[in-house]
Symmetry: C2
């Protein structure tokens, strides 16, 4: 086990109807609220009206229209400006991981005098950030229980994971009923994203028995419950279990004391969605089995055997490579079965920019230090195999 | 899944040599320190000198001699008095769970004007508590990552679990090397305590797939790593994995959203160690399999089947009751194998006070609301079967 230094101060309020506690939680933080949200699905499900009704005694400034793969310009910049102009005390993010990621960058930018990109690009370390409360409407990123956010800058094709302990939400409201209306496409993509979060922590050189068991439980829970959500979108128990497994995805609990992995699939996928603005979870589902095939070797095969036996129930008596390859195939087929397009061409990505993306990834993502180190050529090969 | 409201603000600093960060952590909290510890094992392993050297710029007041099953009188009362007399800013607990539990009660008592028993007995809710930092030397209770402590009051045979969110340690230093010198007896008892913490969360009516997987991983990790620690007390990896699995035991992560269990084995054992001052983990190991046999029924058998198959690898094709009984027997034999005396008589408890203890438990522990409700007669039967 490696040394670690771990703290997750966020309060999780989980379950049906918990939003009634919102005014009490908000009142303890501040009165002037920046309400951030996306394309308006929160209006369709009545959540927008509910929030305004509960916060009728607060001063609300709105930042709507935050997109998936949230953009530095205009969303982060607009949010920072609104916070400064209106002396905002607290940001209330209502939506999925993109809205929350964007809100985190705004929270830091609002307390900084210069260009917020200085912070996101790690040129300057934030000294403070506005407090954030969130109401989650999509189970996937785990942003509600971590201190990171991913921000895209279109003109430079940058997609940066901005991480700072100042960015833990103060409180996350997790009501699984808000995810009943999430489409099959987004439910499946959310599952793939959350599963990949766990895989990025599972495929490492040094892991504890406990962490392996946690990761295997997370993966199995996500697979079983996602299928149940797709079969019956209003299945409370399945939506709840899926939400909870996603929430734990990025806060470290699945991998405390494990050696680092470098998060290679995320490193590769960030370029895909920066260049082509595809759905992050779909990009991950496409990359993951190709990356697995690529890194399978005598060094890694035992890890794949453990994965195959404990997650997919493959017979441990089989040949090691047979188990490993079967596990990778079962990963692929699971994603296919839940309806994810499994080729880059299916999501509008051809071979034209593979070289350019591989170069961008090699320069920016540090995958030469991944569990299995990846060169620019390796990355191009994984991308080509994903076409 | 049940609704839940969860927050664990404690910072965990884990691994070999992490104590070097102590001055930095302490300096951010305060200068006047109450140093609490037990019988002096921290002097034998050099930790006492190390702490004093690291904190040479702090004002240290000492409270030594805190016993296992820590006592209200004198330890809590002395600690509260020392805090008030010396205007203590922060308590530094160096030792195992008993020292830390005692420190928590002191932390609350120090900020209260009346008799600290008012707080521990829930007559009065604490409004504040001193901050606590701890350096752990024994893997077992999980007190380093929860907000509870168990305090004994000898004259009334009370042993109360005092829980308040104010009592989360600010920071827990977890260096597995400090547990190298823990005796075989205490290592085994620590394992039994930690395993029972998980079982108390696993044997419930409603549990998520994720929690079941977490609990099963925790139990398996504890069993494998405890055996490794007993075989080689200086096995860093085994000590580290054991410490980490114990740390997560009582902070809720093993059972978020599960229905409550009532912690029946702890309820019963608290009377044993209150009346006879036995080692808590040994009492739990003795009670657990008898309690299991007692509650095995058509209502609970499926839970025992899951436990037997997933924790002990019992063939799922066998008859349900056969699996359940085998799982209970394997639990018993595991405790026996790691050297725990498995009869109450072995730890000096005869049948003389069973009626009295059963009555005390029935009145004070609320086990009529446990996973399987227990009456005074039931409790007496479990105790008698444990003789």
């Amino acid at each position: 086990m490696q040394n670690f230094d771990y703290q997750t101060p966020t309060r999780l309020i989980f379950g049906k109807g918990v939003i009634e506690k919102l005014p009490e939680v908000m009142a303890a933080i501040g009165k002037r609220v920046l309400l951030t949200y996306g394309a308006g699905s929160i209006k369709k499900i009545g959540l927008y009206d509910k929030v305004l009704e509960l916060l009728k005694d607060f001063e609300i400034t709105e930042l709507p229209g935050i997109q998936p793969n949230p953009k530095y310009d205009p969303s982060v910049l607009d949010g920072v400006r609104l916070c400064k102009e209106n002396h905002i005390d607290v940001i209330l993010s209502v939506g999925g991981g993109s809205v929350l990621d964007c809100s985190k960058a705004i929270a830091a930018g609002a307390m900084y005098d210069g260009d917020p990109w200085d912070l996101i690009s790690y040129k300057v370390k934030a000294k403070a950030a506005l407090p954030i409360v969130d109401i989650l409407t999509l189970a996937t990123t785990g942003s509600e229980y971590d201190c990171g956010g991913v921000i895209s800058r279109t003109e430079t094709n940058d997609k940066i994971g901005y991480i700072d302990p100042l960015l833990y939400p103060v409180c996350s409201f997790l009501d699984p009923t808000y995810t009943f209306t999430v489409s099959k496409k987004q439910t499946a993509a959310g599952c793939a994203d959350a599963m990949n979060h766990i895989m990025e922590q599972y495929f490492v050189e040094d892991a504890s028995l406990l962490n392996d068991g946690f990761c295997e439980a997370g993966l199995k829970s996500l697979m079983i419950n996602t299928k149940a959500c797709l079969a019956n979108p209003n299945d409370y128990r399945a939506r709840a279990e899926m939400m909870f497994a996603c929430t734990l995805g990025c806060n470290g609990i699945y991998a405390l004391g494990n050696s680092p992995s470098g998060w290679p699939c995320h490193g590769i996928e960030h370029a895909l969605s920066a260049y082509y603005d595809i759905t992050h979870g779909e990009g991950l589902a496409i990359i993951t089995p190709r990356w697995m095939k690529f890194i399978l070797s005598d060094k890694t095969v035992d890890r794949f055997v453990k994965y195959g036996v404990n997650v997919f129930g493959i017979d441990p008596g089989m040949d090691k490579y047979e188990i490993a390859n079967k596990a990778i195939d079962m990963t692929y087929h699971f994603f296919e079965e839940i309806g994810i397009p499994m080729h880059l061409r299916d999501v509008g990505i051809g071979e034209e920019r593979i070289g350019e993306m591989a170069h961008h990834i090699a320069v920016n993502e540090g995958l030469d230090h991944a569990f299995v180190p990846l060169t620019e050529k390796d990355i191009a090969e994984i991308l080509t195999a994903s076409l």
